[in-house]
């Protein structure tokens, strides 16, 4: 059946909405394939505004990999702003892709990438606009398979009713594998309809199909067990790990939008995984083990990406970029290569202890020294032991002193508030640290224009981390501590004006907590919030805490659970967690031990440098650490 572009109907309406360019597509390196020639068609979505979603690497990688295959077509779609949503509803325009403006409902697979749980209500908007029934149970063979991926998919239970399937971990290989299953099933004439297709996906072991699992509850509200509801469906679903990143050098042709986006640079992932073992960090836990890209692949990707995009900035991306075994050579090689071309390099996610000034100098060669960012995360030494962020205050002071001596004037420090076992004084210690930073900077440089910005966010316990059992700190306590910190900083005559404070209040973190560690019952709250108008929960101007609490209270009335039960309640070791059947490879006993160690303030080593501490990932997943050094050097390419 030919599928028509909705653009002719959309175009006359575009002058009525904000930033219409985000809806027209036509990005450099985007592609439109022939609909009828494709056997399997994917609509990929990042459930946030275009300006946030377009730069997302996960979606760009899958888009490119799928489109490279013959007979496979992939297009993209993003969340439309409320003004556009109203216009679309008024005119009967369905959720569309920006590539060829085809209706999302016409695709075979609707793949949605969740890097944050706050995109859940946006999923419902998209489904509804697409004309796809919100609940999986109501869909027919006419509708696409709604598939979630990304970090938040490691606990998809709160959105289980809205999904047909979810994938854990790296998407490159599994997206192609799913494509093959769909292709075969379609080629056979779609036997058994939707149910059969989902069963085929589920029995492969690498795709989680929530409807094939029954969840039963204990009278007190805890989960009794989660069990397969069908023969052939595995008890546990495993995450996917791409083992040789050099074989997957994507994106090769980065999408370059016309509209302004949050991330205007070409990013190369220099490695995946992180074994620093920060206990709050879900990303670090679920992406193990460390797999580096080699220096030569990085060099080629940067070269090609810049040529294809025309970007002026390269970001070397990972969870802790300075940890790459050859980062010094990578930095020097790139700085040499692009010297004098007005190309800047950036290294997000640098740890204090991994920071070295030579590296920073390479990255800012010939350019500005605007600011450096470090993330001690905890204000006191004790707190940092609890979260396993192994950096001492002296380390930090030494590092920032060197930075100030080398010409930087501004240092940004990231912290979290509401960490397990935290007391008021742990947060107030942040003020002392910030003052020491300024003092050190002034002494080192003899200047008064030294600045430091403290950025602090509320801690949310996440699944598959040692803190998955922890009680989340209530928002009143978080807010009280933040106020105390603010007073301690503002009231300081000597240093107060040199220190900036950026913080978010505690309420959104509670909702994030509900969505992060929620189970299937939370789906009804999400739906109620969405029906009440909840959209774009990651945006403070759209987020309404009152709406979430009111809906939660209504949905959970008469049940043994409530908002507090999901958030500020500590769990016991024996409790079945909603994601226990979803396997990130981490050994449950190891996680529990790490949680106990956290409470005692015992640290663990990084398994990349010191012998394995048995988190269980490698043996369970059949993976291994892949790091250099390769000993190779970057060839200085001549840039035209």
């Amino acid at each position: 059946m030919p599928v028509q572009s909705i653009f002719p109907r959309l175009e006359p309406l575009l002058p009525r909405v904000q930033k219409p360019i985000q809806y027209v597509g036509g990005e450099l390196n985007s592609q439109v394939k022939d609909w009828d020639e494709a056997e399997v068609r994917w609509a990929l979505m990042y459930p946030d505004a275009y300006e946030v979603g377009l730069p997302n690497q996960g979606v760009q990688i899958l888009y490119e990999i799928l489109n490279e295959r013959d007979g496979v077509l992939a297009e993209r779609t993003y969340s439309v702003w409320p003004d556009m949503e109203a216009v679309m509803r008024e005119n009967g325009i369905p959720q569309f892709t920006v590539d060829a403006h085809r209706p999302v409902a016409a695709f075979d697979v609707f793949g949605v990438s969740f890097s944050t749980e706050l995109g859940y209500t946006n999923l419902l908007t998209a489904l509804d606009l697409a004309g796809i029934p919100l609940e999986s149970a109501d869909r027919t063979d006419e509708h696409p398979i709604v598939l979630a991926g990304g970090h938040a998919a490691f606990n998809p239970e709160p959105i289980a009713d809205f999904l047909d399937a979810a994938v854990l971990g790296d998407g490159e290989e599994i997206a192609l594998a799913i494509t093959e299953v769909v292709r075969e099933w379609k080629a056979e004439g779609s036997p058994g309809g939707r149910d059969e297709l989902l069963l085929r996906l589920a029995s492969s072991g690498g795709v989680y199909v929530p409807r094939f699992y029954d969840v039963s509850y204990l009278p007190d509200g805890r989960i009794q067990r989660v069990a397969p509801a069908r023969p052939g469906v595995p008890w546990r679903v495993e995450k996917h790990t791409v083992m040789d990143l050099d074989q997957w050098p994507y994106p090769k042709k980065p999408l370059v939008p016309l509209a302004e986006t949050v991330h205007e640079r070409f990013s190369v992932e220099i490695f995946r995984g992180c074994t620093r073992g920060c206990r709050f960090c879900q990303a670090g836990m679920i992406t193990r083990p460390v797999r580096e890209r080699s220096i030569t692949t990085i060099g080629e990707m940067v070269d090609q990406g810049l040529r294809e995009s025309g970007f002026q900035e390269v970001g070397l991306l990972s969870l802790s970029s300075a940890d790459h075994s050859e980062i010094g050579d990578v930095a020097k090689g790139l700085a040499d290569r692009y010297e004098g071309t007005n190309t800047s390099l950036s290294l997000p996610s640098t740890r204090v202890d991994a920071f070295n000034i030579t590296l920073a100098n390479e990255f800012s060669r010939g350019g500005r020294r605007s600011g450096l960012t470090f993330a001690p995360e905890g204000g006191s030494e004790r707190m940092r032991k609890v979260i396993n962020k192994m950096v001492t205050e002296d380390d930090l002071i030494r590092t920032v002193t060197t930075a100030y001596e080398n010409g930087w004037r501004q240092v940004k420090l990231y912290f979290m508030c509401g960490l397990p076992t935290e007391e008021d004084e742990d947060v107030l210690a942040i003020a002392d640290m910030a003052k020491r930073v300024i003092r050190a900077g002034r002494e080192a440089t003899g200047r008064r224009d030294i600045r430091c910005t403290v950025s602090i966010g509320g801690f949310v316990p996440k699944p598959h981390t040692p803190f998955q059992w922890a009680a989340q700190c209530d928002h009143e306590t978080v807010d009280r501590r933040l106020r105390a910190l603010k007073d301690a900083l503002r009231g300081d005559r000597e240093y107060g004006r040199a220190i900036g404070l950026r913080y978010h209040d505690g309420q959104p973190s509670i909702v994030e907590g509900l969505l992060s560690r929620g189970d299937r019952r939370v789906g009804r709250v999400i739906r109620a919030v969405w029906e009440d108008g909840g959209r774009f929960d990651g945006w403070s101007e759209h987020f309404s805490y009152e709406r979430w609490t009111a809906c939660a209270a209504e949905v959970f009335a008469g049940e043994p659970v409530d908002l507090d039960w999901y958030t500020v309640r500590e769990r016991e070791e024996v409790e079945v967690l909603p994601w226990d059947h979803l396997d990130a490879g981490l050994d449950r006993e190891w996680l529990w031990q790490d949680w106990r160690d956290a409470v005692d303030g015992t640290e663990v080593e990084d398994c990349r440098w010191t012998p394995c501490y048995d988190c269980g990932v490698c043996p369970t997943m059949g993976t291994e650490i892949q790091i250099g050094p390769t000993g190779r050097r970057l060839l200085p390419l001549s840039v035209v």
């Binding site: 653009f7 002719p8 109907r9 175009e11 006359p12 575009l14 002058p15 009525r16 930033k19 219409p20 360019i21 809806y23 027209v24 597509g25 036509g26 990005e27 450099l28 370059v256 016309l258 509209a259 302004e260 205007e264 810049l306 040529r307 294809e308 995009s309 025309g310 970007f311 002026q312 007005n342 500005r368 035209v640």
Partner: protein, 288 residues
Amino acid sequence: MIQRLRVRYAKRGRLRFTSHRDISRAVERAVRRAGIPVAFSAGFTPHPKISYAGAAATGVASEAEYLEIGLTETRDPARVRADLDAALPSGLDIVDVVPVGTGRAGDAPVRPGAFTDRLQASEWRIRLDGVSRSDAAAAVAAFMAADDIEVERLTKKGRRRFDVRAAVHALETSPGEPSGDRSHGQDRRAAGVADAPCAILRMVVRHCTPAVRPDDILTGLRLVADLAPPSPPLVTRLAQGPLDADTGGLADPLDPDREPVRDGAGDGAGPAGDPRPGEAASVDAVSA
């Protein structure tokens, strides 16, 4: 900076929804992709030397927008045209590239702003779907008959009332969709809207302060004749340039740059910025 190039570009079809900032980012990237040796400003955050002369509003298509690029090496304008065009998304199209005479020894330096001074007026086309030609013609007649037409609009300086009539040099309804027009309309035609009534206005409007924009003229038409298009108008800038007193039309603002330069160009060399295939560009002469 060794060479300056003046560039005429078009913003067509769905890319008319790009804002001025979007375009400047896209051009900077395209310049890099095309390997054009653009000059950078000095200072902490060096900026590529690309400057823009006015800019059609977001949502307005244009066949005639202008920018200027400073280069650190001399380049053949025809090649720059082709390379830059290839590096830009289609819909942002490079129409013409001409080198700016940098002046010979003894010449007065080129006055800044001199080029924008050439852009005295714009020619616009407005497509009004759902408006019959006779209604449009009546409104145009009423508009032209008026001495002044005050409209109100929110400007950067707040609400302002100003006359739109005086700036209008010419205004007429024009017959049907011109053939070979690539700027827009395809999508709507595909939707079958083409059978519905549709009026097309053409106008030449002088640039002045506050700027009289096509939507101000539409406001004026509504005031004088109750003309209220049911769907958003499609506006295209067709040309910008010096007003030609004789013809009432607009001259090409790049023409003065095309003037053959003293002895350098020799016999038969085409206009500097517009060498035909197989013809050597007279770049060297210009930048010598």
